[in-house]
């Protein structure tokens, strides 16, 4: 449905998009992931024809955006990062204007009524857009993008600035829409991409650094497998045994939950299966494993790792180019890497906390909702 090949966009001497190629199949929901300023919005602006690429091509439904802009634009519904709303108009006037602008062939009234029902803006239909909250403005923008039932929806950070309840609603809406349409969605929130998208492309500094399903990304990103384990043994002895196993990289003790047992997080090399030797070694000493579980790296960690990897790769490239003071700089890099890893650990901890908090929030909201319903 969407074919993007070797897209480059330069702003002055800076490359905002640097040789991006990908295809999106019909009915797929693709997530664009990347830190702020990675080139997500620029890529979307090029796909929709708002900007033109410095080189490379975009084809949608077989039509090229430069040769056949009208045909391409007819197939696209675009919601930019800031919804393009005329604040002086009412929702009704705005949607009618967009309808006329897109030269839709549907009957006007039923088509608009249907869209309003889908995005749930019936209640504000006659109000001035200027007086609407951010969440409603976002929905009106989305309604505008849906007018004309375009085959391709391009949504730039559709949930930015919304409250948790609205975020869930919009995500569910996008999922529903994605059943019939091809959707590209950008975000820097990972849980969102995990929740909504079939496929994820990670962009950093204008380049694609990963492409796959959310699960693939967290699996393939590293050569380390992480286990959590609970052993019935004194902590220090158990730790010695674990560190003695071939392939174990690190072993971090956790707080004791059950008396007489101890918990650890173990990072081991992916190429060596440590489970069997670990079980045998512990059994030999008379200790029992109560629980052993493989932990998938969360998308958050994968994301940060990917970006850091990308960064170090870049730095190494630069090094190869200027072969001066190699040893000194490599030492520096090593130090930097150590620092990065430390930072990463801190960040991961923080993010875990945040994630838990977010989930709590969502749960409370859902509870409230249920309560409300009962009342």
């Amino acid at each position: 449905m969407i074919e993007v090949s070797h897209l480059i966009k330069k702003f002055g001497s800076k490359k905002a998009v640097d040789d991006i190629s990908f295809t999106v199949n019909e009915g797929e929901i693709l997530g664009f992931l990347g830190p702020n300023g990675a080139g997500k919005s620029t890529t979307m602006n090029i796909i929709t024809g708002y900007l033109s690429a410095s080189s490379g091509s975009v084809k949608i439904g077989g039509y090229d955006i430069l040769d056949n802009p009208m045909e391409v634009k007819k197939q696209i519904g675009y919601l930019p990062e800031q919804p393009p709303l005329y604040l002086d108009l009412t929702v009704k006037e705005y949607l009618e204007f967009v309808f006329d602008l897109k030269k839709c062939k549907y009957e006007k009234k039923p088509h608009l009524a249907e869209i309003c029902e889908v995005v749930n803006i019936d209640g504000v239909y006659k109000r001035l857009i200027n007086n609407l909250s951010k969440g409603y403005r976002q929905r009106v923008g989305l309604a505008g993008a849906l007018i004309g039932a375009p085959a391709v929806l391009i949504l730039d950070e559709p949930t930015i600035g919304l409250d948790p309840k609205e975020i869930i609603e919009i995500r569910n809406l996008i999922k529903r829409l994605g059943k019939k349409r091809t959707v590209i969605l950008s975000s820097h929130i990972l849980t969102e991409v995990q929740a909504v998208c079939d496929r994820v492309i990670v962009i950093n500094e204008g380049r694609i650094i990963a492409d796959g399903t959310p699960n693939d990304l967290s699996k393939n990103v590293d050569d380390v497998i992480r286990f959590s384990i609970r052993i019935e043994a004194p902590q220090d002895i158990a730790m010695d045994i674990i560190m003695g196993i071939e392939g174990v990289k690190t072993c971090n003790p956790l707080a004791i939950v059950e008396e007489g047992t101890c918990d650890f997080i173990i990072d081991a090399e992916a190429s060596i299966d440590i489970r069997k030797p670990l079980t045998i070694a512990l059994a030999k000493e008379g200790y029992i494993i109560l629980a052993l579980k493989t932990l998938d790296m969360s998308l958050e960690e994968a994301f940060i790792k990917l970006i850091e990897l990308d960064k170090t790769n870049n730095e190494e490239n630069v090094l190869e180019e200027n072969e001066t003071c190699v040893s000194e700089i490599s030492e520096e890099i090593e130090q930097e890497n150590n620092e990065i890893i430390e930072q990463e650990n801190i960040e991961i901890d923080q993010q875990d906390n945040n994630e838990i908090k977010e989930q709590d929030d969502i749960e409370t909201i859902e509870e409230n909702k249920n309560d409300g319903g009962e009342n």
Binding site: Y50, K73, P80, P84, L101
Partner: protein, 244 residues
């Protein structure tokens, strides 16, 4: 084009801008009418129409200041440029909407002609000539204003710049006279070059023909080509922005 035209008309009359322009124009024109016609107890409307030029400059600067600058600032241009509409359709839609507001301001001023007709006999040829001339001058000025508003995101800069350029255009007619008659000893070819450039932008000098009720074909062609050139330049500015 139709959708944009309709929407622009709607916003111009929903927001104060359309009304302010019409009110400003007619208020100042009324004062001029009192001074040039009623005060002199004459039915000669030439000086009245001649005095309208400055008022039109102001009204058009205000009218055209927001057309593209506001779209860019509120990012609604993203909607227009990603919809299946051509750039010329967008520019023409806005141009005709501005023309409608401008012409409704002119239309209200017909009331002065009616007053003269009751009290005396105005020369109808002069009246028609003037209205045609005012429409053409207004069209050319609006095209220039649209072009300038496509260059900047700020409405204030757009209005100030537009007004300044209009004043320069007003003065360039005088510049032509000055160079032709007053400066002696200047290189003849240089003189011709400067005067012809200044003459191109002397947008009001061509208008004097209309005030005396004459239909000057070359002036009509001049105004129509000014409109075409500046609308074309506006389209090019929008097109170029996509590539930079």
């Amino acid at each position: 084009m139709g959708a944009i035209f309709k929407k622009e008309i709607k916003t111009l009359f929903l927001t104060p801008i359309g009304w302010v322009v019409i009110a400003l124009y007619n208020c100042l024109a009324g004062i001029m009418f009192v001074f040039t016609v009623l005060n002199n107890q004459t039915s000669d409307v030439k000086s009245f129409f001649g005095s309208l030029i400055l008022i039109i400059l102001m009204s058009v600067s205000v009218l055209s200041m927001k057309f593209f600058s506001e779209e860019r600032k509120t990012k609604t241009d993203q909607l227009l440029l990603t919809s299946p509409v051509s750039l010329s359709g967008i520019v023409l839609g806005k141009f005709f909407a501005a023309m409608i507001v401008y012409m409704s301001a002119l239309l209200v001023s017909i009331i002065y002609i009616i007053i003269i007709a009751i009290l005396g006999t105005p020369e109808m040829g002069v009246v028609f000539g003037n209205y045609l001339g005012l429409t053409l001058v207004g069209g050319a000025l609006i095209a220039v204003g649209l072009f300038i508003s496509s260059l900047t995101q700020s409405q204030v800069i757009s209005a100030v710049l537009t007004f300044s350029i209009f004043i320069v255009m007003l003065l360039s007619g005088a510049l032509v006279d000055m160079i032709k008659n007053l400066i002696v000893g200047m290189n003849e070819t240089l003189k011709t070059i400067i005067t012809s450039i200044a003459d191109t932008f002397a947008i009001y000098d061509k208008f004097t023909q209309f005030t005396s009720g004459m239909l000057d074909i070359s002036a009509i062609v001049y105004y129509l080509s000014m409109i075409a050139i500046f609308l074309f330049l506006t389209v090019r500015v929008l097109e170029k922005r996509r590539w930079s």
